[in-house]
């Protein structure tokens, strides 16, 4: 249960379930409900319905982003909401206002939802606590450090289900820097909730054994995974989250051991496909020929992102299938 400190320092649990702080607290039913709604909205994008007309959506990004911010803003626009876009390049602690105060200030203006990205895990929890202390605005996590990126996992699931119909008994491989990846955590929670087997692979320094407690199975040899996976998800190495010496000898060394090269991609199951949450580092975790090849569904992932975020915003504001919910 999420908690925060109020002004007297006592921890108070969050009260609302309209926030989307992560996949971990969601049930399989709720995930399916969001995905079902996203499929409806994907086809309804052109019908001119405006369920969020008169609402505003704030995008509050403390960390740089192109695709996620654009995707959320297009989703909000499609729903008829007005968008207030706030960027903060530096940590709130080092410069200016705290997340707590920003959250209280923005929530007091009563927007429908605040979409937040932050480099620090748990920042959306703090923002949600701040918002609950003054109003009724729901918080949507657009990525918090290495913790969760729930809408990415939802769009990944939507993409997988477009091809596989069900995830029950399917094998999904996630390869790369799992330790620093919020995408990997959210995908791991979501895919296992929907019945998939998730195999994790990468250098020992970036794929610690403790990750198995989240539901995945670690396989050390990438060549054992490639031929058995129904989908292969490649992740980049997130040097920006590391301190101290590099955790492996070189990028060339990394590519040799873990990269999805043309030769490796040829050993995939005939109907298996390749996913990547972006941004991609071509020639490191994935060869350009594979990234742009026929097995890649990267563009499809991006398209699904808008539909998923429309559903998530409806849920945050209490519209669509969530109308009437508190």
């Amino acid at each position: 249960m999420a908690t925060h400190d109020d002004h007297r320092g006592r921890r108070v649990p969050l009260r609302w379930d309209r926030h989307l702080l992560g996949i971990e607290p969601l049930t399989a039913e709720e995930i399916t409900k969001i995905l079902d709604r996203a499929r409806v909205l994907r086809h309804a994008q052109i019908t001119g319905e405006r369920p969020l007309a008169g609402q505003s959506v704030v995008t509050l990004f403390y960390e740089a982003s192109t695709r996620t911010r654009a995707s959320f803003e297009i989703a909000a626009q499609n729903l008829g909401a007005t968008i207030v876009s706030i960027a903060s390049s530096s940590s709130s602690v080092k410069k200016g206002e705290t997340v707590w105060d920003t959250g209280r200030t923005l929530a007091a203006m009563e927007p429908g939802a605040i979409v937040c990205r932050h480099s620090s895990p748990g920042a959306p929890h703090l923002l949600a606590a701040a918002a609950e202390s003054v109003g009724h605005t729901a918080i949507v996590n657009a990525g918090d450090g290495a913790h969760e990126h729930p809408t990415q996992a939802l769009l990944d699931a939507m993409t997988l289900l477009d091809r596989l119909e069900s995830l029950e008994g399917r094998t999904i491989a996630i390869i790369g820097d799992i330790a620093h990846s919020r995408v990997a955590r959210s995908d791991l929670f979501l895919l296992t909730k929907l019945g998939a087997r998730v195999l994790l692979c990468g250098p020992r320094s970036l794929v610690p054994r403790t990750l198995e407690s989240l539901g995945g199975t670690i396989v050390r040899d990438v060549d054992d995974i490639i031929p058995v996976a129904d989908a292969v998800m490649m992740l980049r190495v997130q040097f920006e989250r590391m301190v101290g010496p590099p955790p492996f000898p070189s990028l060339g060394d990394y590519n040799r051991t873990y990269g999805l090269t043309v030769a490796r991609a040829e050993r995939m199951k005939s109907d298996a496909f390749v996913m990547h949450p972006g941004p991609m580092n071509r020639g490191i975790e994935i060869d350009p020929e594979v990234a742009d090849g026929p097995t890649s569904v990267v563009a499809h992932q991006v398209r699904n992102g808008i539909a998923v975020r429309m559903a998530v915003l409806e849920r945050a504001v209490g519209r669509g299938p969530w109308a009437g919910a508190s």
Binding site: H7, G9, T98, L126, T210
Partner: protein, 426 residues
């Protein structure tokens, strides 16, 4: 000279083998006059104690009193008030001040503030290195003469092993112990909590227990090399406890303490990103918590120390990555340890010893932490039955995951040098 009669106590000092019910104790000024007086002797003040437990005043080896330099968090006076409320009559003030305790003037300031604050004994710890920067030794002889009882760089590990060796040799010549924060800071770099299942789940950077184990191992090797006395602060790992156990068997002169939080809470306290549970060293998994309890029970760990570390609200109500580490602990140390006694994890004898006699011994203050006629009238009366909730702190800060916790048992009367420093409303 004023006299006080403490009527009807259970006199309890396991170190001297004292456990006697129905005693009446007379205090003459700042000394204990009689431990076996009659209940109707004349005294200036009579306190009816209702058969409750009277133990030596508690001695706390680790308090960040924050003065000079960080008085928005705490002052000597407020730390002394919180200590008294927790049954503590003596505490060591760590040199985590600004300026640090590397010159005599700062020692004098702390002692002056302590005198002004009242009867609680505040014993300054000197910095091990100038500015606590780990580069050259502080002037230990001068600091010792001014009143410093031990030397430490506080919550910073001494990176340079040669400097630590010289520090131990210098302090050894002065008869003072070196207190270390044992950690290999390159191994824990960037960590904001314990590296384990919980950090993996929360996506927070972790500091492995191995960072402490490497630190303890190095510090023990230097203690063996120099033959000087080493005190290791806030031990939190099972492997660390085992290293100290083996070192003691080999005759290395080492003592160690553990904080109440590390004896009770696991790293799961951080779930929900609760910054109150961000402490240093980090809260560890159950396996480590069980090992430090066992270590305290079997004597491997000598003392409980509060590790009282106040932080103001704006330093805690931020992203966990940026939140200042530390928790207050003066008022909750005794209640937490009594809860371990109530749970059958620690005997009452051992519990009281670890907060009285053993920390006094680390300081070589053989007058403190025990009860004897003619000795200092430093005493704590404990009500083991009273149920209460920790809500209002005497400290300036209230950053502890234990805020709001219900406890059974607390100090109801604290006497330092014959002066009542705390009396719970009855």
């Amino acid at each position: 000279m004023s006299t006080t009669l403490l009527r009807d106590v259970r006199l309890f000092d396991p170190g001297t083998g004292l456990d006697a019910e129905g005693r009446h104790v007379v205090l003459d000024g700042d000394k204990i006059g009689s431990l076996d007086a009659s209940g109707d002797v004349m005294a200036d003040r009579v306190v009816d104690c209702g058969g409750r437990l009277l133990v030596p005043g508690l001695v706390d080896l680790r308090v960040h009193a924050c003065e000079p330099g960080y008085t928005s968090r705490e002052s000597i006076a407020t730390a002394a008030a919180a200590a008294a409320a927790g049954g503590i009559t003596t505490f060591v003030a760590l040199p985590t001040t600004k300026p640090t305790v590397d010159r005599v003037e700062v020692v004098e300031l702390i002692l002056a503030r302590a005198r002004a604050a009242g009867a609680t004994r505040v014993l300054p710890a000197g910095a091990l290195s100038v500015g606590r920067d780990g580069e050259r030794l502080a002037e230990m002889a001068k600091l010792s003469a001014a009143g410093c009882v031990l030397f430490t760089d506080g919550d910073r590990a001494v990176k340079d092993s040669q400097l630590l060796r010289y520090a131990m040799e210098t302090a050894g010549d002065l008869g003072a112990p070196i207190m270390t924060h044992a950690e290999d800071e390159s191994l824990s770099l960037g960590g904001v909590m314990h590296e384990g299942l919980v950090s993996a789940r929360l996506g927070l950077a972790g500091a492995p227990g191995a960072a402490e184990v490497v630190g303890i191992s190095r510090d023990l090797a230097i203690a063996e090399l120099t033959g000087s006395r080493l005190h290791i602060g806030h031990v939190s790992t099972a492997a660390g406890v085992e290293l100290i156990r083996q070192a003691k068997k080999r005759g290395i002169r080492v003592t160690a303490d553990v904080s109440p939080l590390h004896l009770t809470l696991t790293d799961e306290a951080v779930l929900g990103y609760d910054t109150a549970a961000k402490v240093f060293p980090p809260l560890r998994p159950r396996h480590d918590v069980d090992a430090v309890i066992t270590g305290l029970a079997d004597g491997t760990l000598d003392c409980v120390a509060s590790d009282h570390c106040p932080q103001i609200e704006i330093e805690k109500n931020v992203e966990l990555d940026w939140a200042a580490p530390g928790a207050t602990g003066l008022e909750t140390m005794l209640p937490v340890i009594l809860s371990l006694v109530n749970a059958g994890r620690l005997t009452l004898e051992r519990a009281i010893t670890t907060m009285t006699r053993t920390p006094a011994n680390v300081l070589q203050r053989l007058d403190l932490g025990r009860i004897r006629e003619g000795g200092p009238a430093d005493l704590t009366l404990i009500d083991r039955e009273v149920e209460w909730r920790f809500e209002q702190s005497h400290s300036k800060s209230s950053n502890t995951p234990l805020l709001g916790t219900r406890f059974t048992g607390r100090a109801v009367l604290t006497i330092a040098s014959g002066v009542i420093t705390h009396e719970a409303p009855r």
